[in-house]
């Protein structure tokens, strides 16, 4: 078996299932074929093009092509003021706008030396965690669709709609919020917001169990994902993976715990990593599992925040918002845990201008996707779809 070429270049074609090699066909001479997947292909989750070199059913090489959604985020940043960048950050990861704004705001605040009101911090965490649930619901729902399960998708989108309504109520927009500002918030939350959020938490908790039974324990779903696209922990770190992808490989690494920001140190929550009982560590199922379990933890965080939040009496959401954001000269790299991993901003300020000299977004999907070439080698074409789905890319963030 060891003499066989895993990539299937010879006349015997094999594929990798877990730690074993499975022989698919023997003594068969096939031609290499180029198969273009995307940029208009539903399973690539947006405008990603994968050029696959295939030998029969086996992918011997897959090359991702990006840039179809490149909107010059970094060039735009150099031409607008610091607060005006916030709406642009929404458009990076458009499924988790609040988290992107949060990451940007804390980065700029590092250069500013301002005190953020405590209530602002709690509201920020609540909306960010709500958005994380919404984003994971899309990831899980569409992953089901990729693998032929349509029902979970409808369940997920039904529940996501409630979160979007809540966020719309707070900020005025469904997906592109411009709510978390540098130094504060656009507005305080509406009067009954906390009550409605608690209603959602009570409503949603049983739904996570239902979703788990419906999809994560589904026999067909498990067969399609378990043992597929295994990424060992050290390689994952070398590739710069973060978020659910890295935790799927068994590394307990969460920026909310390991490089804490905002009020996360005061909150009590677990960082779920797969234990290898229901999935093989590092495979597609593990990555899915982490997302499914993380929603539960987000609910816990939201509950605690509502308990601990100071009252709205005499509160002004814009009290710490600077009239003119002009940070001191210097550089900063700030980051936050997004649903898809570490979203970082590298900002360079010259100390005179109200515009950044350089603002680079370190996109989590961009980095996670760069492992695609290695992950896809020797996989079957349908498994390739399972792998892309498990990476959970948002092309808005990949291409920026």
């Amino acid at each position: 078996m060891q003499e066989l070429d895993i990539a299937g270049m010879g006349s015997t074609r094999v594929t990798r299932k877990g730690n074993n090699l499975v022989v698919l066909e023997k003594d068969l001479q096939t031609e290499q074929m180029v198969l273009a997947m995307g940029p208009q292909h539903p399973s690539t989750h947006g405008v990603l093009k994968l050029e696959c070199l295939t030998d029969g059913e086996v992918v011997t090489h897959a090359e991702p092509y990006l840039g179809y959604l490149h909107r010059c985020f970094e060039k735009c940043c150099e031409n607008v003021d610091y607060p005006a960048i916030v709406p642009y950050t929404d458009r990076l990861d458009y499924l988790a706008g609040m988290n992107s704004e949060f990451a940007y705001a804390i980065t700029v605040e590092k250069l500013l030396d301002i005190e953020i009101p405590r209530r602002v911090e709690f509201i920020r965490v609540i909306v960010a965690e709500l958005n994380r649930i919404a984003s994971h619901l899309v990831a899980i729902g569409t992953y089901g669709i990729d693998l032929g399960a349509f029902t979970p998708f409808l369940f997920c989108f039904r529940d996501r709609e409630i979160i979007l309504s809540l966020l719309e109520w707070a900020s005025g927009a469904r997906m592109l919020y411009n709510y978390i500002w540098v130094g504060g918030l656009a507005y305080d939350v509406p009067a009954d917001f906390n009550k409605r959020v608690m209603e959602f938490v009570t409503y949603f908790r049983p739904k996570t169990v239902e979703l788990y039974k419906l999809l994560t324990e589904n026999e067909i779903f498990v067969k399609r994902t378990r043992g597929i696209g295994i990424m060992p922990a050290d390689v994952a770190i070398n590739y710069g993976w973060s978020g659910p992808m890295l935790r799927g490989s068994g590394v307990k690494w969460d920026l909310r715990r390991n490089d804490p920001y905002s009020v996360y140190p005061e909150l009590d929550f677990e960082v779920p990593v797969p234990d290898g009982k229901v999935s093989d560590i590092g495979d597609c199922l593990s990555r899915h599992l982490v997302r499914a379990l993380e929603m539960e933890e987000s609910l816990k965080i939201i509950e605690q925040c509502i308990d601990k939040m100071p009252s709205a009496e005499g509160f002004n959401a814009r009290s710490a918002v600077p009239k003119r954001v002009r940070p001191k000269a210097g550089e900063v790299y700030g980051r936050a845990e997004n649903p898809r991993g570490e979203l970082g901003f590298y900002i360079q300020s010259d100390g005179k201008s109200t515009k950044p000299l350089r603002c680079k977004a370190r996109s989590s999907c961009f980095v996670n996707l760069s492992a695609m070439k290695d992950l896809s080698k020797g996989q079957l074409i349908p498994d390739l779809v399972a792998i892309i789905g498990s990476i959970d890319i948002v092309l808005g963030e990949v291409d920026r």
Binding site: I237, G344, Y346, R362, V367
Partner: protein, 172 residues
């Protein structure tokens, strides 16, 4: 850093890591800039950069196994372009440091570290795409976000956008 100012623990850790690198490479690296927001040092000898990178990753006292970010930067006043790498020891020693590498603004090249951290592969392609510096010994030096036949490097401060691209008017 001025006298009497309190240096935070994370900066002290970075300084300790820097001391090991300085000890090994001497003149090839610059002095340590111990600012609070992003402590960094600069690699002065370009050709030593891959060796420094490998040393930083593999030395048991450093173990910078995770490259968080690699950003291209245009240093227009110095007639240089460069990269800023944010490195971290993930799950091992939990310290962080930033490294700067600069090269000539036109026709400059920086040795690639894609063989040390896989993350650098795409990030270096992006830096080339936006700033035009080449990364020598990079396995796949192509543009990544802009089309292959795009003219100029968009994030340079003196960039002028091309008039038309395949018959499409570009400036709007």
């Amino acid at each position: 850093m001025e006298e009497g100012q309190v240096i935070s623990q994370s900066v002290q850790q970075s300084a300790a890591a820097y001391a090991i690198i300085k000890d090994k490479f001497g003149e090839a690296v610059s002095a340590f800039d111990a600012n609070e927001t992003m402590p960094f040092f600069e690699v002065l000898d370009l050709s030593a950069w891959p060796e420094i990178a490998l040393f930083m990753r593999d030395n048991p006292k450093l173990q910078f196994n995770y490259m968080a970010c690699l950003s291209g930067v245009d240093y227009q006043s110095e007639e240089k372009v460069g990269i800023v790498c944010n490195l971290e020891s993930l799950g091992k020693l939990n310290h962080r440091i930033a490294v700067k590498v600069k090269c000539a603004r036109t026709g400059g090249s920086i040795p690639s570290v894609a063989g040390v951290w896989h993350t650098a592969n795409w990030h270096e392609r992006e830096a080339y795409d936006m700033y035009g510096m080449l990364f020598s010994a990079h396995p796949d030096m192509r543009r990544i976000l802009c089309p292959d036949d795009w003219e100029g490097y968009p994030l340079l401060k003196d960039y002028k956008v091309q008039e038309s691209y395949h018959g499409i008017k570009v400036p709007y």
